[in-house]
């Protein structure tokens, strides 16, 4: 699988201020199709702020976020109409929340959760929608008998996998993940990581994954950005950043968290 060199996403000089307080500052990077970028840093370092600004959930104070749309080529997402932006967010983009409950509709069945995006883009054939939902349930390793069950009857790991299925059903090209393995048992985390890695590879997904877990970052991401106090202080090849960190803060992060 050859990767295109044309960037899918380009973030330029992005700054988010909350009054005088810095959310994130002067962040620039590009992301190619199929590339996984990890953003690491401790709580309050600006990771989530950055993710929200990139993913069209919070307009930045300064800077641009450009996305290579399927139809119109490269577009500044904050210059699009809200209708276009929301369409983009529910078709070509996906957002996996740390808490599956934030990303699921808890009062409708697993099948309806997965089918929602299809119906949102105009799919009006119940049988097809149901088949697609069943396929995706299978892909995320949930027994297809659970298709009509409410997500509230699922375990935490299953809910997280359902959230992923719900997001990927429209074949998005860019996925945002905010601590996707946070709050899960270690064994459940492993299963999810394996699943994510497989999907990322098979579907050639570009992913921006925010995590404070360096082991997760190492296993999933090609590149890493390390954030401290709202700024990117080090970035590069994942194993280079983790094994030969140059910045004082990265060294501290690696020495205090990484076990092996």
């Amino acid at each position: 699988m050859t990767r295109s060199h044309e960037p899918l996403l380009r973030v330029s000089d992005l700054t988010m201020m909350y009054g005088d307080r810095v959310g994130c500052r002067n962040v620039s990077f590009e992301l190619r199709p199929g590339e996984v970028l990890g953003i690491v840093g401790e709580s309050g370092s600006g990771k989530s702020t950055l993710l929200r600004s990139i993913s069209a959930q919070q307009e930045p104070t300064k800077g641009t976020v450009e996305y290579h749309t399927r139809i119109d080529g490269i577009r500044d997402i904050y210059q699009m109409s809200e209708a276009q932006r929301r369409l983009l967010m529910r078709t070509d983009w996906a957002f996996v929340h740390q808490n599956a409950r934030d990303g699921l509709r808890m009062n409708v069945s697993a099948g309806a959760n997965i089918g929602e995006r299809l119906m949102a883009v105009g799919d009006r054939h119940y049988g097809n929608i149901r088949n697609a939902a069943e396929n995706w349930l299978d892909k995320v390793e949930i027994a297809t008998e659970r298709l009509d069950d409410l997500p509230s009857t699922f375990s935490g790991g299953m809910q997280q996998r359902l959230q992923i299925a719900r997001n990927l059903v429209t074949s998005p090209r860019l996925v945002f993940m905010d601590e996707p393995t946070g709050g899960l048992d270690v064994s459940v985390q492993a299963r999810l990581l394996d699943l994510l890695r497989g999907l990322v590879h098979d579907l050639n997904l570009a992913v921006i994954i925010v995590t404070h877990d360096l082991a997760v970052a190492r296993l999933l991401s090609h590149r890493l950005m390390v954030m401290q106090r709202g700024e990117v202080i080090e970035s590069g090849l994942t194993d280079q950043v983790l094994d030969d960190p140059q910045h004082a803060y990265t060294q501290l992060l690696v020495s205090s968290i990484l076990q092996n």
């Binding site: 492993a190 296993l219 090609h222 590149r223 094994d243 030969d244």
Partner: protein, 234 residues
């Protein structure tokens, strides 16, 4: 002989910010060449920086100065300045690395882990799996273990999985970090055979070998990293 990799005037030091920003110089003025079909042993006593140098060749460690160029896709790629994308592509298609550590996602079956580099190169899944089965058989990993994660294996078994994964794709350049440590005689013989086969197809190999017998059996030359240690000539 065609040159596959060269290091020119390479220096490396570590700055430990967490320990009072002390700087530990490791190498300076390193000159190194690696040709197709040869197997060079990196030598030097324990702690002399053999592994550090090998990691620099793989771009796992950065260089403080100098250049390391790799023949990738018919062009020279300076991995000390190349983009992460270029390095990943170089690792995917040109340079294999057998490390001493097995870093894999838990739960992934051994067979998948071994076949993965070949699948990533675009080889048909079944062909890759077939080759993975062959290698695991040659390396005496019992078939009943193939569907299990290697994280539950013994040290020797994990190492053999690493070797299988490293040798499954016919990389033009291979780096081997103590591939035969902790292996029994039979398995060591298998690894030596794999190295010979790689040489025969023209791979350029650099390795760290802990024992003389192995080194003498497969290496065409050696490179003593000690001579480039900072302060070595004082």
């Amino acid at each position: 002989m065609s040159e596959m990799l060269h290091a020119k005037n390479v220096a490396k030091g570590f700055t430990l910010h967490t320990q009072g920003s002390v700087t530990i110089p490791v190498f300076e003025g390193v000159e190194f060449r690696l040709n197709a079909g040869e197997c060079i042993a990196l030598t030097g006593e324990s702690g002399s920086g053999k592994s550090t140098f090998m990691r620099m060749l793989y771009a796992n460690y950065t260089c403080s100065s100098g250049s390391i160029s790799v023949l990738h896709d018919g062009d020279w790629l300076d991995i000390t300045t190349a983009s992460p994308h270029a390095i990943l592509d170089m690792r995917k298609r040109t340079m294999g690395y057998v490390s001493q550590f097995l870093r894999v996602i838990p739960r992934v079956p051994t067979l998948e882990i071994v076949a993965e580099p070949l699948i990533a190169l675009g080889t048909a899944r079944e062909t890759a799996m077939e080759k993975a089965r062959d290698l695991l058989t040659r390396l005496r990993i019992p078939e009943r273990l193939w569907q299990l994660s290697p994280l539950t294996f013994s040290g020797g078994e994990q190492q053999r999985v690493n070797i299988a994964r490293g040798f499954i794709a016919d990389y033009p350049i291979m780096l081997l970090d103590e591939p035969t440590a902790s292996l029994d005689t039979q398995n060591r013989a298998t690894v030596l055979a794999l190295i010979e086969e790689a040489k025969a197809r023209g791979a350029a190999i650099a390795g760290i070998f802990h024992d003389h017998e192995t080194r003498d059996a497969v290496c065409t030359g050696s490179f003593d990293v000690t001579s480039f240690k900072v302060g070595a000539n004082d």
